[in-house]
Symmetry: none
DNA sequence: GTGGTCTAGACCACG
DNA sequence: GTGGTCTAGACCACC
């Protein structure tokens, strides 16, 4: 599991964990039916509290990507988000692109970044 | 000021305001030397608390885009972000792209969204 | 045994099993003196862990409905719950009814559901 | 706010709190636009931890009934559950009715309970 | 003032 | 073994 936590990142840790797993699902590294590692293990690996990882799993379950069952762990049940609109992904996309442009990148540099990122996402 | 506040957007309001202004700067509608409208006016226009708009301005000042002076309002002083938080922006880009892919969009659909957004940003 | 396990049901599996058997008892399909099928068989039929079915039997025994004996299987010994947890049941009833109302059902629709359910329970 | 916590109730506390508020919404005591009391106040009133109440609010938000915003509290935004199917309300109804019947109540006694409960729910 | 996040650690529930 | 709940308390973010 290649998830990284960035202290300087404004996003809360549990969000970063969830996003990391979402990326793995989008990239096809975690397919429908795959079992996620135990909460405790992820917590130990990343050096964060178990509750924090549990919050990430809860988040993913809320979005319909995984199914968490009490004694038997978490499993990927879908590769499609349930609430497409709630997250306002397009709006966030615009904001991020504005940031990249404001950091001095040219249009083609931004497009290169986007293409590189998309290439890693199998289903795209 | 063409800024909109979306109730359903999960981002905090002050963030939405700051992002709106950043987009205007990136698009060239607000150039170096331009004066931003008074906090009170923006607050009234958007129907939000003055403190919220003030927080947005503070954020923009922290990023080096504007300069806020007591009595003389806020002015755009740069069109380039001061913070070199490139990695964080790229990380957020990846997360947003993963969300778009997980919401069922194909690679070309995502690229269309990106191009549309970039076209509105003059400097890109 | 007409018990079904619903993956989408939030109740724990052992609870679903116990409730299924309780419904059979309430409906009179399992009468005082009847023998329940062996844990292994139920587990195999439903495709769940034996421990899970055992937990359900334990629950039913705790409520005074069945008697589990090593070697001789489980037998229905009563058609009346031992625990006087009436208030808790009523509280749960209120919560479920609130949910049904909040899901948009009218009073008469709810009453229809209730009547249908009661009709299947012989002793009612 | 007439919410009660029952130690003997099997449901987790945060669930009992959420159910209590749902009942108030279903009964029309909390209408669309109403503001919920602060997390801290509810926590103090009920004698539970703030995190527990926060979990209840999160639950209600997930179900689409309230909208929680950072600095400005929680507000009722809908009187209809967003995820009607996820909760399997009808299945839980059958289980509760079976319990009431098994506790020795006749059909008419159960119907009286149901009617009393529904009478308190305005929208029913 | 409001809610959100995170931690440490205890204890419970499920399979 | 797995995840869930709850607590106490600290600190942060938002309006």
């Amino acid at each position: 599991m290649y998830i990284t936590i960035d202290e300087r990142d404004n996003r809360p840790i549990y969000h970063q964990v969830a996003d990391g797993i979402k990326t793995l699902i989008a990239a096809g590294e975690l397919r429908k039916g795959s079992t996620l590692p135990p909460v405790r293990q992820v917590a130990a690996d990343l050096g964060v509290n178990q509750n924090t990882v549990a919050a990430a799993y809860r988040e993913l379950q809320k979005e319909g990507l995984i199914r968490v069952r009490h004694g038997s762990g978490a499993k990927v049940v879908s590769q499609v988000l349930a609430n497409k609109d709630d997250e306002r992904a397009e709006e966030r996309l615009r904001a991020v692109l504005a940031d990249l442009v404001l950091s001095g990148r040219t249009r083609s540099e931004v497009l290169t970044l986007v293409n590189e990122a998309l290439t890693r996402l199998a289903r795209a």
